[in-house]
């Protein structure tokens, strides 16, 4: 089905074990996956199912205990700082909690200037940098003139998360790992954020990977869905296949747990 699609991120037998001795926790258990370029991927699972650990391994923030991760068909090599930096030019992330994602001692300018420097624009004249930052901010409906010289914690949660997207806009990575990007903000901002991420995808042609506990959101945005339970992918496939015709009881449970309007909420599975 996807033979013409280019593989961008794949893994085989990826495992992460925390602790040792009698206190070992198997966070991610021999996971295989193939993410293709241009697809929208969702990894769905309940809390503690190992989604975030997997995301950190994909980002290269922690090393897998076992297994290999392939980037664009080749084995990923992030052994040195230089190689990591190179890798992070193509893969970026949005974290769950915007309030803890920023260094409270740095101003917003610093956050955005870091991104420009990361793209090799560190030596550009300051006016041009301001222009780039203004463009990025206006993409996410923020006004750079109002943000400059402010600290991230002076913004609301939604604004902070939009600033995070502005950061991605400046970085233009190939892959974006969005680790529950909307779980900490209210429902109205949620749609805006998702909308912006979709727009950004069209704009810079990146592959977003959503990590979420919200199967409704996954169905709404994604092409392929991976259902994760206790560190394993129990079901995967296209969004329609998985969500409309779930095979695993865990998937059915996740679907029934979504509260619906005009219908009694089935709490029997909780």
């Amino acid at each position: 089905m996807s033979s013409e699609k280019k593989l961008c991120l794949s893994g085989s037998g990826v495992t992460k074990v925390f602790g040792f001795g009698r206190n070992t926790t198997l966070a991610v258990d021999h996971v295989d996956f193939n993410f293709y370029e241009g697809e929208i991927i969702s990894i769905v699972g309940e809390s503690g199912s190992g989604k975030t650990t997997l995301a950190k391994m994909l980002l290269g923030l922690i090393n897998p205990t076992e297994g290999e991760i392939y980037f664009q068909g080749e084995k990923r090599d992030i052994s040195t700082h230089r190689k990591k930096k190179e890798y992070w030019k193509s893969i970026q992330a949005i974290f769950q909690d915007p309030f803890s994602s920023y260094n409270i001692f740095n101003k917003i300018d610093t956050v955005l200037l870091d991104c420009i420097r990361m793209r090799g624009g560190g030596k550009l004249p300051y006016e041009q940098k301001v222009e780039m930052m203004t463009e990025a901010c206006s993409f996410v409906n923020l006004k750079f003139e109002e943000l400059t010289n402010k600290y991230p914690f002076e913004l609301s949660g939604g604004q902070q998360q939009r600033l995070m997207i502005a950061r991605i806009f400046l970085l233009k990575p190939k892959i974006l790992l969005a680790d529950e990007p909307t779980s900490m903000i209210d429902a109205c901002s949620r749609a805006t954020i998702l909308d912006m991420l979709m727009q950004l995808r069209d704009e810079i042609g990146m592959t977003p990977i959503f990590i979420t506990h919200d199967i409704g959101l996954a169905y709404y945005v994604s092409d392929s869905v991976y259902i994760m339970e206790r560190g394993k992918f129990v079901e995967s496939g296209s969004a329609d296949d998985v969500i409309l015709h779930p095979k695993e009881p865990y998937t059915r449970r996740l679907i029934s747990d979504v509260p619906k309007i005009y219908e009694e909420w089935d709490l029997s599975t909780v």
Binding site: K56, L59, L61, H81, K84, K85, W88, K89, Q92, A93, F95, Q96, D97, S100, S101, Y102, N103, I104, F105, N106, D114, C115, R117, M118
Partner: protein, 416 residues
């Protein structure tokens, strides 16, 4: 930053501690500007002069004399010569020679002396009295001679040619001099120490040196502790293992024993205050390392650090901008405690005689050491050691108070 400072200066505990500390600092800075005597100059011939105002006798003879007729002058004069112990001794003698106890009133000086003059005879043997006691009574009798006389004293000068004493002036009992008109008056608010040095001047200098020692030791200990703690906490892995191995090694060796051994092996001649400070600094970084490490470990997996990594920052950059500012308040508190413990450790070391060499500067510990060696505490010369103890206590108290205040500001869970 401004807001944090405002919050800090709203904490009562911090402000109290800070005020005491600043007061000590100001005294240490201003006092030497006013009294410029070298702090270690020996001014008194003899040990442990009591605190008080010292008026030059020679100058007061040649100063203008004024006659003041004060009723209680004679009584005060006798009272100062005839102490309470002497009165009781007189009473004991009188009782022993057979005067009824009801007739003796130790508060009536004139009557008591009268009874004494009538009844005392050095030849009398009282059974059970030792020779020492008898000698004491002879000395007492001699000192009482002329106590009730109202004559003045003559000042005589030897004629250089004939060597005959010639009377130049007479001082009567109602003669007074104005202290302001006496050329040489020296106030010794805390007396002199065993070497005859002004204790107050010495104490101020000692406080200055001790604060310097504490500061140098605290900064060194904090710098080492901070660097090792940051590295070990953030880098983790093998680096962490090595650093924690060294830290644990230093934890199990009591640092004071290490300190004593190092100070001893350096030798008295090369043990200046700075050397001692460095030695203290190099033996007290251990707990700062452990504390900083645990703080860093709790920080290193935060999202903002991950974001900084994703922005391609180097290890040093992340440690300096993403980790250090978050623990800076903690480090300041650790520094304050390190300074305060540096001062205490110096005092402890000096009391053992392993402090800085005694020839160039006094320190609080050295002053305690001198007072102890010359038995000030046994002789009751409180001014040689008590002010030193109070100063050490005040410094440590003010710093710990500042630390508690800061703790409450930075750790809202502790606020009451």
């Amino acid at each position: 930053m401004k807001h944090t400072l405002q919050q800090v200066f709203h904490s009562g505990k911090f402000v109290t501690g800070f005020s005491i500390f600043v007061a000590i600092l100001l005294i240490v800075i201003i006092y030497p500007l006013i009294i410029t005597d070298p702090p270690l100059r020996i001014i008194g011939q003899g040990t442990f002069f009591e605190p008080g105002i010292y008026v030059n006798v020679y100058d007061s003879i040649s100063s203008p004399h004024y006659t003041l007729n004060l009723d209680d002058a004679a009584a005060k004069r006798i009272a100062s010569k005839l102490g309470e112990d002497d009165r009781i001794a007189i009473k004991d003698w009188l009782v022993a020679v057979g005067i009824p106890e009801s007739e003796i009133d130790t508060t009536d000086t004139a009557k008591l002396l009268d009874q004494w003059v009538n009844n005392y005879d050095p030849a009398t043997r009282i059974s059970g009295m030792t020779n020492a006691t008898r000698n004491y009574y002879i000395r007492l009798n001699n000192s009482l001679k002329g106590l009730l006389s109202t004559d003045g004293v003559s000042i005589a000068v030897a004629n250089p040619e004939t060597a005959v004493l010639e009377e130049t002036s007479t001082i009567v009992q109602s003669d007074y001099v104005n202290v302001n008109q006496v050329a040489n008056v020296r106030v010794l608010p805390l007396g002199t120490d065993n070497f005859g040095r002004d204790v107050l001047t010495e104490l101020v200098e000692a406080t200055r040196v001790s604060l310097q020692i504490g500061f140098v030791a605290g900064v060194i200990a904090t710098l080492i502790g901070l660097t090792l703690g940051l590295l070990s906490g953030y880098v983790g892995g093998f680096v962490d293992d090595i650093i924690m191995f060294i830290t644990n090694l230093f934890t199990v060796i009591p640092s004071f024993v290490l300190l004593i051994l190092i100070s001893f092996s350096i030798g008295q001649d090369r043990r200046g205050p700075v050397t001692i400070a460095i030695v203290i600094g190099f033996t007290s970084w251990v707990w700062t390392t452990r504390a900083v490490r645990s703080q860093v470990i709790s920080l290193r997996n935060r999202d903002h650090v991950n974001l900084s990594k994703l922005s391609g920052h180097s290890l040093v950059h992340i440690i300096v901008t993403d980790i250090f500012p978050y623990i800076a308040s903690y480090v300041v508190m650790a520094l304050i405690l390190q300074i305060s413990s540096g001062i205490l450790v110096e005092a402890g070391l000096s009391i053992l005689g392993l402090g800085p060499r005694t020839t160039d500067v006094p320190t609080l510990g050295l002053m305690m050491n001198w007072a102890m060696i010359y038995q000030a505490h046994i002789l009751g010369k409180w001014w040689a050691y008590f002010p030193v103890i109070v100063t050490i206590a005040l410094i440590a108290f003010s710093m710990n108070l500042m630390n508690t205040g800061l703790d409450q500001v930075f750790n809202p869970a502790l606020r009451d």
